[in-house]
């Protein structure tokens, strides 16, 4: 996977960085990006299409702020035995309120997933359902008190 980078030239790398920072909110954004990189609009468009087909750019769009609309976030750690992992993952991922789910190296809690829900009540409800259906009781709920940073700009 790492050798995908070798398929990018310096202009691709600059473009990836620029696009992650902020996308121009104008009628002809690719023309504007072109002016910054001294490339034509067509060239920018074909480069972005290629970056998307390589899977490097997943999407270009809004990054929502759930808290601004009253949504609550939490991170849940779950102590999941190997033989229950597959079923637990299926169950957890079936909830549309679950946005992330990762297996992590830890001897206390190894499965970590995040929830974004309209209320704390719904968060508790989902956790309870998952505990009951999976039979896994060792769960820690870590509600977000403060979001200090969410910004992913990968420098390449």
């Amino acid at each position: 996977m790492a050798d995908l980078i070798s398929k990018l030239d310096e202009l691709d790398k600059k473009l990836v960085l620029l696009l992650q920072e902020n996308f121009p909110l104008v009628l002809k954004p690719f023309e504007k990006l072109g002016r910054r990189l001294k490339l034509s609009e067509e060239e920018i468009i074909s480069r972005i299409k290629r970056l998307k087909s390589l899977g490097i750019i997943k999407r270009i769009g809004p990054i929502h702020n759930p808290e601004a609309s009253g949504f609550k976030r939490t991170l849940v750690g779950m102590s999941t035995p190997e033989d229950k992992l597959k079923k637990a993952v299926e169950l957890i991922n079936s909830f549309k309120e679950v946005t992330h789910n990762y297996l992590r190296k830890d001897d206390t809690f190894n499965l970590w997933w995040t929830l974004i829900c309209p209320s704390q009540k719904r968060i508790k409800e989902i956790i309870r359902t998952i505990k009951n259906k999976s039979g896994i009781k060792a769960v820690v709920n870590l509600p977000t008190v403060k979001t200090v940073k969410i910004k992913t700009v990968f420098k390449i």
Binding site: M1, A2, L4, I5, V16, L19, E21, N22, F23, L25, V26, L27, K28, P29, F30, E41, I45, K49, L54, G55, I56, K58, R59, I60, G61, P62, I63, H64, N65, P66, A68, S69, R73, L75, I92, N93, K96, V98, T99, N101, Y102, L103, R104, K105, D106, T108, W112, I116, P118, V140, L142, T144, V145, K146, T147, V148, K149, T152, F154, I156
Partner: protein
């Protein structure tokens, strides 16, 4: 939402709405989401720190680290006394260890737990229209 890669991907009305949502804080940013795995960031870890608050100075220092994508303060529990969470991205194990070392020093040697990412089972963007 994923815009079309064509000369004019927005209507005037859409642009107005996006800018308004940015002003209202409903949208944090409008930008490209990339695959960090495909960009070579293969060593990722969630670091849980035994801290219940964050000084303004340390918050700013952490925010400025480009290799940290997420920072949250969370309500800890007696069995899991970690209140501060940082998500780190690196290209190698060695690089990740060096970054953790740097943060450990910055935090004044705060007790922490490294939760290395082994496997991604789900990663989606929040969309307020879904729930």
């Amino acid at each position: 939402m994923d815009i079309e890669i064509t000369s004019r991907p927005f209507t005037k009305g859409q642009l107005r709405k996006i800018k308004q949502d940015l002003r209202l804080g409903k949208i944090r940013r409008f930008a490209a989401i990339v695959s960090h795995q495909k960009l070579g960031f293969s060593h990722n870890a969630l670091i849980a720190w035994e801290k219940s608050s964050l000084s303004r100075k340390l918050a700013n220092q952490l925010k400025n680290k480009h290799y940290i994508s997420h920072i949250y303060l969370r309500a800890a529990s007696p069995r899991w006394p970690y209140g501060l969470y940082t998500m780190l991205h690196a290209r190698s194990r060695k690089e990740l260890e060096a970054l953790i070392g740097e943060l450990s020093k910055l935090s004044g040697g705060c007790v922490h737990k490294v939760l290395n990412t082994i496997k991604e089972f789900k990663k989606t963007s929040f969309n307020p229209r879904i729930p």
